[in-house]
């Protein structure tokens, strides 16, 4: 792999609370190459959105980065002073949020919001910003962009608003976009349009993407590699085909099997018993051990780290021995 654009190493995020400090993210490590799309999947509460927020420096207080480092093109960004981090946001790391109905300021026209973003980061004139804003609206597929530029967010449908949000995330031409559930609030047919748009723009601009979603189908179609999260940890990371078709970690395997397939009706869906533990009650050892069908003594005692497993890496004691077998099949 070429020099990574984004490198996260051993990231740890904590939340002080009345009942003690909760560890929300624990030992997160991954890298994204320039132009690469890394998918991040997991169930709600697994910590995938928080990972995105940590990378862009927008953790909700009292959450804080308690360990590890984040590097963008080799430069550490997790300990930057506020003003330098601000200049990075939007300019080098863009963000797309889940709900297009609430991410746009209702009181300003979309043109103003676009121009404002570009004028903050790019050395251009207001007239040029407006010209580019129209260009961006055209790029993201808003019909009659020149006329709609002065419209307000409430005058657009949900799908159209998400297109505006994408334009806002990309208009200062960042190297990396963090897309946090960009299609979850949209209907299937609109989701397909937005995914196609995101893929096209990322390819055209050469933008790398951290795509956070709970929808494995979206990941399968969009991502190059995928990281599977469980209880604040990455349990498996690898090329998307391998993780989908031959998941190595028992949790990934269970997750893939639980997804109802579109192609055929099956007699009974595979299910993982129980539910993901709350942050305050993560068991010692492997966080998945109480639900794991292949659990053995070591899983309860010691925490596994990511190790090579086939073409992927999995955090599972089954792969402690490099020659060890897989769980799949």
């Amino acid at each position: 792999m070429a020099a990574p654009l984004l490198e996260v190493r051993d990231l740890r995020v904590e939340f002080p609370s009345r009942r003690g400090t909760l560890t929300a993210l624990d030992g997160i490590s991954f890298a994204i190459a320039p132009g690469e799309v890394l998918g991040m999947v997991g169930e709600s509460g697994a910590g995938k959105s928080m990972t995105g927020a940590a990378v862009i420096g927008l953790l909700e207080p009292p959450g804080r980065i308690a360990g590890g480092e984040i590097r963008l093109a080799g430069e550490r960004i997790d300990n930057l002073p506020y003003e330098r981090l601000r200049r990075l946001r939007g300019k080098r790391i863009g963000a797309i949020f889940q709900d297009p109905l609430t991410t746009l300021n209702p009181l300003y026209s979309v043109g103003r919001q676009l121009s404002e973003t570009m004028l903050t980061h790019l050395p251009i004139s207001p007239a040029e910003a407006r010209r580019r804003a129209i260009g961006w609206l055209e790029q993201v597929g808003i019909p009659a962009a020149a006329r709609r530029i002065d419209s307000y967010p409430h005058e657009f449908s949900g799908g159209m608003r998400q297109r505006v949000v994408i334009a806002l995330a990309l208009c200062a031409e960042p190297d990396l976009v963090i897309a946090d559930e960009p299609t979850t609030a949209l209907d299937v047919s609109i989701q397909a349009q937005v995914i196609a748009l995101l893929k096209r723009l990322a390819r055209e601009q050469g933008t790398a993407m951290l795509l956070i979603t709970h929808d494995m189908g979206v990941i399968a179609e969009t991502a190059d590699r995928v990281a599977v999260m469980y209880a604040g940890r990455i349990v498996e990371i690898g090329p998307v085909r391998d993780v989908v078709k031959a998941p190595r970690h028992p949790y990934s395997a269970g997750l893939m099997a639980a997804i109802p397939p579109l192609a055929a009706r099956i007699e009974r869906l595979a299910q993982i018993e129980g539910a993901m533990p709350r942050l305050a009650a993560i068991p010692p050892g492997c966080a998945f051990n109480p639900r794991c069908p292949q659990v053995f003594a070591r899983c309860r005692d010691a925490r596994p780290v990511l190790r090579p497993a086939g073409a992927s890496q999995a955090a599972c004691w089954l792969y402690d021995d490099p020659a060890g077998g897989g769980v799949h099949g």
Partner: protein, 335 residues
């Protein structure tokens, strides 16, 4: 031998909502009343012991059908027949009312946060006066909890002590407590994570088999629908555009909208595939397009589609299916 009536039948069911602005503003702006036609002429029947699903995108009217089905809304036109009896009549009789129940989408809003789980599950028992003694009710609640995979000790707890999936189990236990025959399930798994969704879907299938339940299943997720349904109705803007047996629908979708919907779903098997999504968005149900509501987005639309709303007809080669599409009727569909 006379054929038994289907357990549930919707006959030309329609429901519109008044979404007009206040009278004063309407008069000043010179506009008339505005009606949102949420459901507009829906007909289907569910035989005993089977599952019929309605799928569609948001605003297609599927949830309104669910509420019409249990009498939470009164229809503007048409009617629902429950076991051959008009629903309005059946709702007056507690013995009939007991036979239908509903499971909801949001596991957080569907249980009263101030009630103990045991009381929540026993509410139908008390409302229908099914078990006179508290001890009998407690036993029944314990049995129901066990049936949905919880323990009878859970009856003492409050809803906030449970995860989303467990709450959905409690919701199912409440629905089962009055021994219903017919369950309306409104997006019962769409708020759940995938692994928990599988648990709930499996549980619902087990219960259907062991109790002989009949389901009306509402969902936006075609993959989920495929796993649970015998028949599927695809809704678009208040109407059923295609109604077919589950396997038929997935093997050979007929309506252009059904095809577009199927094509839009990202699937694990399609990794890396690029495809052309259907353009446009769902129009407003306040001001639906003329003729066939899908015509502005349909690749097969012609003048007839723009002018005349198509009737639901069986295609010549598929007698069990109903499709509301001129192109299918005229044989213009390109496979």
């Amino acid at each position: 031998m006379a054929e038994a009536p289907p357990l549930f039948a919707a006959e030309d069911l329609a429901r519109s909502f008044d979404v007009s602005r206040p009278l004063l503003q309407r008069l000043l702006a010179g506009e008339g009343r505005r009606r949102l036609r949420a459901v507009d002429g829906v007909t289907f029947a569910i035989p005993r012991g089977s599952t019929l699903s309605l799928v569609g995108e948001s605003g297609c009217g599927k949830s309104t059908v669910a509420r019409l089905a249990v009498g939470l809304y009164a229809p503007s036109r048409g009617q629902v027949r429950f076991d051959g009896v008009a629903l309005a009549e059946a709702r007056h009789d507690p013995r009939q009312r007991r036979r239908m129940q509903m499971i909801f989408q949001d596991p957080y809003a569907s249980l009263n946060p101030r009630w103990r789980v045991g009381d929540i599950i026993a509410e139908p028992l008390t409302a229908f006066g099914l078990l006179p003694t508290a001890a009998a009710r407690r036993d029944r609640v314990g049995a129901l909890l066990a049936q949905v995979g919880l323990t009878s000790a859970d009856g003492e707890k409050f809803p906030h002590e449970f995860s989303g999936g467990q709450r959905q189990r409690i919701s199912i236990a409440r629905a089962l407590s009055s021994n219903p025959e017919f369950l309306v399930c409104d997006e019962p798994t769409s708020a759940l994570d995938v692994s928990v969704q599988a648990q709930i879907l499996n549980l619902m299938q087990d219960l259907q088999r062991s109790l002989g339940l009949t389901y009306l299943f509402i969902s936006h997720n075609l993959a989920v629908v495929r796993q649970v349904s015998d028949r599927i109705g695809v809704m678009y803007l208040g109407r059923i555009v295609e109604l077919a047996a589950s396997e038929t629908l997935f093997r050979r979708p007929r309506h252009p909208y059904t095809r577009a919907l199927l094509a839009a779903i990202p699937d694990l098997d399609m990794t890396g595939r690029t495809r052309i999504p259907v353009g446009g968005e769902v129009p407003s149900p306040i001001d639906p397009p003329t003729g066939c509501a899908f015509h502005p987005r349909c690749p097969l639309a012609n003048d007839r589609c723009r002018a005349v709303a198509p009737a639901s007809l069986p295609p010549p080669d598929a007698p069990g299916t109903l499709v509301a599409c001129h192109a299918v009727e005229e044989g213009r569909e390109a496979d």
